[in-house]
């Protein structure tokens, strides 16, 4: 890489960088108008952070997680960070999914209880309604049927996807 780390960060970036202290981490909130350079600041600070801490991160088997709102922003940051493997850039959904993705059994268990509760809830509502010809009633009946079917096939599913 051809970055000159001796070039001082701008005062704002310097302040942000001081928050990213592994021994004394601080949260911060950065807001500014569009095009004012929020992403640039982030990237500059992260590059500096990598330079200073890479050995420690590598030793601990750690990475920096960066969560964005959109895939476009995600790609943009990856690009600006030169696809460095020390950074894990993803959207919030992808990030959380990657966290829980191996635990099929846990997901299945949650889905089962959740579906059962929903069905029980719907059944109770059905039992209270006097008129069985309303659209609401028929809709609910269809929902119960669908959820029932999902519940039945759940044990045979080995790979769950979001």
């Amino acid at each position: 890489m051809t970055i000159d780390y001796n070039v001082a960060l701008s005062p704002v970036d310097e302040e942000i960088y001081r928050c990213l202290d592994l021994d004394n981490p601080k949260s911060f909130f950065l807001f500014a108008g569009a095009g004012s350079g929020k992403t640039r600041s982030l990237v500059e600070v992260l590059k500096r952070f990598r330079h200073e801490n890479i050995t420690r991160l590598r030793k601990n088997g750690q990475k920096v997680a960066i969560i964005t709102y959109t895939n476009a922003a995600c790609d943009e940051i990856k690009n600006r960070l030169e696809y460095d493997s020390a950074f894990h850039v993803s959207t919030i959904h992808r990030f959380t999914w990657e966290l829980i993705n191996p635990y099929t059994n846990d997901i299945r268990r949650w889905l089962t209880t959740n579906l059962e509760e929903e069905i029980a809830d719907l059944r109770e509502k059905q039992s209270k309604s006097r008129n069985t010809a309303t659209k609401t009633y028929i809709d609910r009946e269809r929902k119960i049927e669908l959820k029932d079917r999902r519940l039945r096939i759940l044990p045979d599913i080995n790979h769950l996807n979001p």
Binding site: R58, K59, G61, S85, I100, P102
Partner: protein, 743 residues
Amino acid sequence: MKIAFIDIQNFRKLKSCRVEFSENKTLFVGANNSGKTSAMDALIIFLKRTRQKDISTTDFTLSNWNNINKIATDWIDNKNHDDLNLAPGQWSKYIPAIDIWVDVKGSKIHYVSHIIPTLDWIGGKLGIRLKFEPKQIEDLYKSYKSAYEAAKNTSEARKNGNHLSLWPQTMRDFLDKELHRHFTINAYILDPSKCTDAVPQELPENSEPLASYPFNGLFKIDIINAQRGFSDPNSAEDGSRSDRRLSAQLRTYFEKHLNPSELPDINDLDALDAIETARTAFDKRLKESFKASISELEGLNYPGFSDPKIQISSKVNPLEGLNHDAAVQFNIMRDDTKPGDIALCLPEKYNGLGYQNLISMIFSLIRFRDEWMRIGKAGKRTEFSDDYIEPLHIVLIEEPEAHLHAQVQQVFIKKAYDVLRNHHDLGENKQFSTQLVISTHSSHIAHEIDFKSLRYFKRMPAKCAKSAPYAEVVNLSSTFGDGSDTAKFATRYLKTTHCDLFFADAAILVEGPAERMLVPHFIKNKFPELDRNYISLLEIGGSHAHRLKPLIENLGLLTLVITDLDSIGKDSTCKVLPERGKEYRTGNDTIRSWVPLLTGLDEALDANADDKVRDSLVRAAYQYEIELKYNGEDVTAIPYTFEDALTLSNINIFKDKAAATGLIKKMADAVNKPTISEACKDLYGALGKNSKKAEMALELLYTTDPNQLEPPHYIAEGLSWMQDALRHRRQDYLILADGGEAN
């Protein structure tokens, strides 16, 4: 993070065995053919990914082939396809597998997030089963069926009646050729709540193998195997096998960690500069030397070449600089050699094999450690890649004792672990763990290591017909309980005597130095069959022998305790001449508290051969009435100790020793007395406190051919029991009727 234990199943002799790992060093010990190497190989084959192709049909437990062949026969016999059983479950009982249980702290979860079974996991044990199983049972079925039927049809087509065996006759036959096409290693997550079960847990049906090898980034595994291939200067062997020499190792190290032409930094520039200058100068010289010849070539003026200019350019590769025999030399001059003297050096391969081996092993360990810690260029190379330092380093060393004499073995084993931890991030730091596993045949190595780290491989006889003998692993850390005096005694005793209990077929515990010197002669001369076994002889004395009881029983080692009657008075603990009917007791702790568990002298004398054996494993042998001819009369006598028993058994030899000195003379005088009771009294008197028994044995060996000595009857009985028991055991270790060849 560290490996807590492993369960090996259906791998060679290890049908099902658990090997617990110590925190730092684990040592596999055991007699020959007890499964030490198999356990090492199982670890290597399953964990070292480049070695996974080495697994072969001979690595399946032999006795399982009957059942595997049966599965295939059922497939073939199943004509109507109604109940064709293609369930993977029926294979799992018979195929090699290894369960790896690691201890992981909750704070290290980011290393293991892909193998934790559920999100409720909060730290503790994590288990992975690596199973060598059919990739697709359906494919295996199809291929086997078509191969088998093709063979069958062909051999049936041949009408002349000669039975011809075509491949494949059985599934075993088929897999000998096609194993890796149809089998692969799959990994499964185990349920940590069942990790304490005595037998490895069964996987739930429909469990899915993990998509990728689960231990990437968790372990770094390194191996020093037994074939280290050192070259003698005269040995013809060369090439790949000799690459354990220091020069070769240095080269590898240089390439990985130091090479200045790769990812150069400031410090490398001088070296690169020098190499470049040398190259330019060399090129210039080349150009001048070849000038005449080249201009001649250029004068050819071959049509079609516009400008046939020939350039000569050399390449200096720093790596090549190490690539020759004399790269590593040993200076054999004294340190105080004056500068200007001609240095006398010898290339590495003229060094002693033992020293080469030691250097090679220690350097390998250094290399493994530096690779792991990403020292030098290795660190730079990975800085931009995805791989981080594995939290656990496993080093397997097979039989480090080769070519090393005893002291060097001890040095090696003491230093090995320290070398692996000698880095500023390691040492006592718990962040990265190193586990060293060593298999050895050397008692010197075994005794340098704490008892707690020893794992004894025990041969077990086949359980029933058609099953093969197997092996069990005993964890010696629990043998003596925790920190008791017995444990301390046994550890100290075994350390100081360097006994080889862990590698023996059987053990004989003897009372004193006289027995230790003479019993081997009795074995050699009178029990030739016993002599062919590896028997460990320990001099420990009747008052302490019983302290080894827990160890002997744990090892399952066939043991003969040759001890003394030690008769003492009814109420006092004074020694007395043994006599019946006087309510005398025995003062010997072995007889009283181990085998045959008797206190009264009369009962001890009355005990028959069966009483003296415990669990077909341990037999006591001590003096009782001996019948002999004394001055032409049939008499009986009760010897008190080994020496008088020996004298009474060899009266004629001792009678002639009247000219000898010391104890032998006293014995000779005693047996020249007119009556047996006087003789016994004198013998007893001669063997008082200050008698020099060891000297007597030496003197006896000096003056008498041990061939002529008759072993005292109680020892002869003991040895013949042991000979029978060993013969019996050997039978048990072979496979019974048509179970296949011995493993």
